[in-house]
């Protein structure tokens, strides 16, 4: 039974696939898939920046993270939430408890309160235990929460950096080849963005912030710092993860070597 029906079923599936293949090829010959502006002009993230957290020994640079936090707080936070991060987490950036208390207390958006006795909604200053309050945004586009952005995009920090520094005029070649793909009003051309046209206006520029540590605030510097900061918000456990990994691998290497030696000893008379 199997030997009769098996080959028949196999030929049936193969025939259906060859049929699909033939139709697909015929279609390609008649009218090949059209090229699109995205296919031709979308760019992969720039890989030329070196990050301190790259590689198996990489660690965060807390001064850079503090600068990035400043960029987030003064620029990004106008539209983007960061809801996975609590003020208490900022201790990892090297802030002292008193500083964190002050940052939380002075945060522009206050924590919402609700009085169950009266039903009144109210506000109170944030505390270190609070998460960074969500940002409500009414304009064009949907600014994503940035807590996990470097994990949620191919290229991670490279992507964030490339996007922030990648704004440019739409290339003339693009407009010539795809006249219908002109960037609509209210959007901005950015070859690193998935569909080339992003609703976010260029958020950073030279001297968009004044760094507390005196670092010159160039566009590139700001973009690098905030990309590093957002890598930390996505993977605050990264340093601990790598630091745990090395002793684990060391132990396993020794254990495996011993296991190999004992295997060889036990099998010595059986080969």
């Amino acid at each position: 039974m199997v030997r009769i029906f098996g080959p028949l079923i196999g030929l049936f599936f193969a025939a259906a696939l060859v049929w699909s293949f033939g139709i697909g090829v015929a279609q390609q010959l008649r009218e090949p898939d059209p090229s699109t502006a995205v296919k031709d002009f979308h760019l992969d993230p720039k890989e030329d920046v070196h990050w301190s957290f790259e590689g198996p020994f990489g660690t965060y640079n807390t001064r850079q993270l503090q600068r990035g936090f400043q960029v987030y707080k003064q620029v990004c936070n106008n539209c983007h939430s960061l809801k996975q991060i609590a003020f208490r987490n900022l201790s990892q950036l090297g802030y002292k408890p008193a500083e964190i208390k002050a940052i939380a207390k002075d945060w522009a958006t206050k924590a919402k309160t609700f009085d169950p006795k009266t039903g009144d909604a109210g506000e109170r200053p944030n505390t270190p235990a609070d998460h960074i309050p969500p940002v409500y945004y009414a304009g064009t586009g949907n600014p994503p929460d940035l807590s996990l952005i470097t994990k949620a995009r191919h290229g991670g920090a490279h992507y964030v950096y490339s996007l922030l520094t990648g704004y440019t005029d739409q290339p003339a070649a693009l407009l010539k080849k795809y006249p219908d793909s002109k960037t609509p009003d209210g959007l901005y051309y950015n070859p690193y963005f998935a569909n080339l046209n992003i609703a976010m206006p260029p958020p950073l520029a030279d001297n968009a912030v004044t760094y507390a540590d005196g670092t010159p605030a160039t566009l590139n510097q700001e973009a690098k710092d905030v990309a590093a900061f957002l890598t930390w918000t996505a993977e605050p456990e990264m340093e601990k993860r790598k630091q745990t990994g090395w002793p684990v691998l060391g132990f396993l290497l020794a254990a495996t070597a011993l296991a190999y030696l004992s295997k060889r000893t036990i099998w010595a008379d059986k080969h």
Partner: protein, 421 residues
């Protein structure tokens, strides 16, 4: 069955003697994975992967049960509860990465285990039942892994659930109601998430049960071996302990080294970035792809682009995808060659390599965007896949002239066997 020369369990300590009378569990273990189980002496490292698969299941159950203590299966908070595990639970990031990469490790190990079975024809009599149970385990693993991937409730979780449950809608007449019944709604939502969590917790224990049957069935004829020649005498075997416990211990060490390198240094390399975006029913990802271990089957699903006679393309894809695994059930009867091992089957061996390459091509296409070139390649690769099992294998096994087999396992290892004299 055991071989007459198998070591006998002889408890000496009074407590063990007592236990052996009341509940002979130590005897059971001794005969199953101890000195009482004679195993062919010539097993190569391809035979390590059964034990490794068992280890992966235990690893997944242990990490999974702890994760379930902190996870909340509610569509409103599931995504944030996973981030809570990553950030606020002590060593939660390690547990979650261990579990997510543990699933990948489990599939790597099981795929090697399966392709070892293909090469050495481990499915042949008298071991058909072991093979059939193994395919059942693989199907259960796929269901478990799919439902587990839905739990973080990211974009790929949501849209993956939508696509996979959508497969049932291809069934004529009852498809749509069946899909709604499975999901508990018109689209994946809280009802679906809750039942997936419940089943994701249940199925690993079902897998553990079928594994017990798989090993039970294995112990009746005993392990196969790289020559495919059955055990003839005591000199063909060694006791499982200490010989194979030592060999498996070394194998486990190598496995853990690779697994921990991924876990601690590349924990997200095998995942998709979109699953760190919370599920959003209003925004479809540009490319919906499952986890890598489903790619070959996903490529087969997508390869059917044209209706075939009166059968819609979508139904063909679904039928083919399930058939791609169901065909494994019939292998013991499709491959009729009396010789088991690929080492002695020159033609069969060539096609085995082709199958490996073909499956890798299917996997590559399944993980790529649904662009025309990948679809066209996967159509040819999928056609070969079905022809391999259903047409080529029966033909090869009847026309092939196998190489001469060694007299015994002992002869294969030592060059001579005293028993031949």
């Amino acid at each position: 069955m055991s071989f007459p020369w198998a070591n006998q369990y002889k408890p000496t300590h009074p407590l063990m003697v007592y236990l052996d009378e009341k509940l002979p569990l130590p005897r059971f273990v001794y005969n199953a994975i101890g000195g009482g189980y004679p195993v062919p002496r010539n097993l190569n490292y391809a035979w390590n992967f059964g034990v490794l698969a068992g280890f992966c299941l235990v690893l997944q159950i242990v990490t999974g049960v702890i994760l379930a203590m902190h996870y909340a299966a509610n569509a409103g908070v599931a995504f944030d509860s996973v981030e809570h595990i990553m950030r606020d639970v002590n060593w939660g990031w390690m547990l979650r990465y261990a579990h997510a990469n543990g699933a990948s490790a489990f599939f790597v190990v099981v795929y090697i285990h399966i392709f070892r079975g293909f090469f050495y024809s481990s499915y042949k009599a008298p071991r058909e039942m072991i093979w059939l149970l193994g395919v059942v385990i693989f199907l259960l693993m796929m269901a478990t892994a799919f439902m587990g991937y839905v739990l973080p409730w990211g974009q790929m979780s949501f849209w993956g659930a939508k696509v996979i449950t959508g497969l049932f809608s291809a069934i004529p007449l009852v498809g749509e109601p069946l899909q709604q019944w499975l999901l508990g709604g018109f689209a994946p939502d809280n009802a679906a998430l809750n039942r997936f969590f419940s089943l994701h917790f249940l199925l690993p224990f079902v897998i553990a049960g079928v594994i017990i049957l798989h090993i039970w069935a294995l112990h009746i004829p005993g392990s196969s071996n790289p020559t495919g020649v059955e055990i003839k005498s005591e000199s063909d075997t060694v006791p499982f302990h200490p010989y194979y416990t030592a060999k498996d211990g070394f194998g486990l060490g190598v496995f853990l080294l690779i697994y921990c390198t991924v876990l601690f240094f590349f924990p997200n390399a095998l995942g998709h970035p979109d699953n760190y975006i919370p599920a959003n029913s209003m925004s479809t990802p540009a490319h919906i792809v499952p986890e890598w271990y489903f790619w070959p089957f996903y490529a087969i699903l997508r390869a059917f682009t044209a209706d075939f006679f009166f059968i819609p393309a979508k139904l063909m894809g679904v039928l083919a995808m399930f058939s791609a695994i169901l065909v494994w059930f019939f292998l013991p009867w499709l491959d009729t060659s009396p010789v088991r091992s690929g080492h002695y089957r020159p033609l069969f061996r060539k096609f085995w390599y082709l199958l490996v390459i073909d499956t890798l091509i299917l996997g590559y296409c399944g993980g790529s965007p649904a662009e025309t070139k990948y679809v066209l390649i996967s159509q040819i690769a999928a056609a070969y896949y079905f022809l391999h099992f259903l047409v080529i294998l029966p033909i090869v096994s009847s026309i092939e002239k196998p190489l001469p087999l060694p007299f015994s396992i002992t002869e294969a290892v030592l060059g001579t066997d005293a028993a031949t004299a």
